[in-house]
Symmetry: C2
Subunit: 224 residues, 2 copies
DNA sequence: AAATGCATAGACAGACCTGTCTACATGGCA
DNA sequence: TGCCATGTAGACAGGTCTGTCTATGCATTT
C-alpha cells in the first residue's frame, strides 16, 4: 500500500509514534518474529525504557501494529477504490463493476515494498499461538469484503459476490507474493476471476447461496 | 492433507526419516521459526550429532521439509482429484469440471490438522530472506496449477483458466486459515468462483489472455 | 580382529531473545 | 519550588537459539 504517510498527531508522544511506525515497517518487511526488540529500539531511536513504557510487551506492539496497519491500509484501499471508480465512470467503455478493486490491487502488488498481506503473514507466522492476532486478521478480511460490496448491485446476492471476490483478491495477493515475476499472472488471474464473477451474476445460472455443505463432503477425514 | 503415511523406505536410515517426519509435523503445525532444533531432536528421539549429520543446518532441513511436503501433498491432491472425478462421472447430474478440485479442497480444509498452505506460510515467514524456499514454493504453485489443468478442455484457454482457478484455490486456503469458522465461507466462495469461471469459459465474452498490463497502471507507485 | 559407519548422551560456545534494572536529564504544571 | 511524566544511556538477568565438541557403544564389513 503506497505512500504510508504518518497519520499520528505528533503532539501526542512522538516517541510512541516513531516506535509504531518503525514496527510497522520492520514487521511488514522482515516478519514479526524476525524483528527483535533491539532492532526496533535502535531503528526508532528510543531506549528500552521508553519502548517498554509504551508497549509493555512485544505482543502489545504486535497488536498495535496490526491495528495501525489495518487503519492505514483500509484508508488507502477505500481511497483507491473511489479513485478508480471515478476514472472508470469518466471513461466511456463499460467495465466490470469490480474492476476498481482489481486496479487497486494492481497498484499495490506492483509496489516495490509489497510483501503480501500483513494479516495473512501474521496468521501464517503465529497461527493458533496468537489468537488475538488471528482475530484482528479476521476482522480485517471482513472489512475488506465490506469495502468492495458497494461496488456491486445491492439487489441480488451482492454479499455472496463480494465474499467470492475477496477470496479471489486474497489468492492474487499470495500468488503475487510467492513468485516474484508472477505478479502479472496473479493480476491476470484476478481479472479473469472477477470478470467471470460479474458475468455469471448477470446471467444467474446457478446461484450458489453461501451454504457450502451442498458440495463439501460430510465425512470427517482424520489426518496424520 | 489427510493421512500422511510414511513414504520413506525404512531400510535407509530410519533416523533421517524420523527427523524429516517430525520436522514436517512441527514446522507445519507451529511454524518453522517457532520450532527449535532442540524440540525437533527431542520429539524425533535422536541426538544433536545425528541430527546435524543428516541436516548440516536448519535451513537444509527446512528445504528438505518443503520438498517432502510437496511430494506428500501432491500425491494426495492428484489422488483426491482422480477420486472425485470418478465419483462425479458415476453421478448422473452434470457439474463444473473444476468441481473435483473444490471437493478435494473441502476435504483438506475441513481436516482438523489444516493450518493453511505450508508453502504460503513459509514465504510469509521468511520472504526475501530465504530465496531457495520461495523458489520451491513457486514450483509447488506451478505444479498445483498443472495438476488441475487436465480437468479442463485442452482446446481453448485451459491454461489461463487453470491459473485463475489456482488463484481462487489459494484465496480459499488463506481465507479458511485466517478465520476458523469461515471455512464454510471460503468453500462457498471457492465454489462460486470456480462455477463462474467455467460458465464464462463456455460463453467466451471477453477472453482475457494473460497479459495483465491491459488493466494495470504503468506508473511506478513509490511507497514508504 | 580391526576398521568403519552410525547411533547415543550431553556439555559447551556464542549469539540473540525479551524484559528489568539503576541512574540521570528535561520540561511543563501546580 | 516541588512533582511527575517523559525522555536518555546502558548494564544485566535468564532463557532460547543454532551449531560444535568429546566420549562412548554397537553393528557390519573387510
Amino acid at each position: 500500500m503506497p505512500d504510508t504517510t504518518n497519520l499520528e498527531p505528533p503532539e501526542k508522544s512522538s516517541a510512541r509514534a516513531r516506535i509504531l511506525r518503525t514496527a510497522h515497517d520492520l514487521f511488514y518487511r522482515d516478519g514479526v518474529r524476525a524483528t527483535g526488540v533491539d532492532a526496533l529500539i535502535a531503528t526508532a531511536g528510543v531506549t528500552k525504557v521508553t519502548f517498554y513504557r509504551h508497549f509493555p510487551s512485544k505482543d502489545d506492539l504486535i497488536l498495535a501494529y496490526l491495528n495501525y496497519r489495518h487503519e492505514l491500509w483500509m484508508t488507502w484501499f477505500v481511497d483507491a477504490l473511489a479513485r478508480h471508480r471515478r476514472a472508470q465512470s469518466r471513461a466511456k467503455r463499460e467495465r466490470s463493476p469490480l474492476a476498481p478493486a482489481a486496479l487497486a490491487l494492481a497498484e499495490w502488488i506492483r509496489d516495490p515494498a509489497f510483501r503480501g498481506c500483513a494479516f495473512i503473514n501474521v496468521v501464517a507466522e503465529f497461527g493458533d499461538h496468537f489468537p488475538r492476532a488471528v482475530e484482528i486478521a479476521g476482522a480485517h478480511k471482513r472489512d475488506v469484503t465490506a469495502a468492495i460490496t458497494p461496488l456491486l448491485d445491492s439487489s441480488r446476492g451482492a454479499q455472496a459476490l463480494a465474499r467470492a471476490a475477496a477470496i479471489a483478491i486474497d489468492g492474487a495477493i499470495v500468488r503475487a507474493q510467492a513468485d516474484d515475476e508472477s505478479a502479472g499472472i496473479a493480476l491476470a488471474g484476478l481479472n479473469d476471476l472477477l470478470d467471470a464473477l460479474t458475468a455469471s451474476a448477470r446471467t444467474p445460472r446457478h446461484r450458489a447461496e453461501a451454504e457450502p455443505t451442498e458440495t463439501a463432503p460430510r465425512n470427517q477425514h482424520r489426518a496424520g
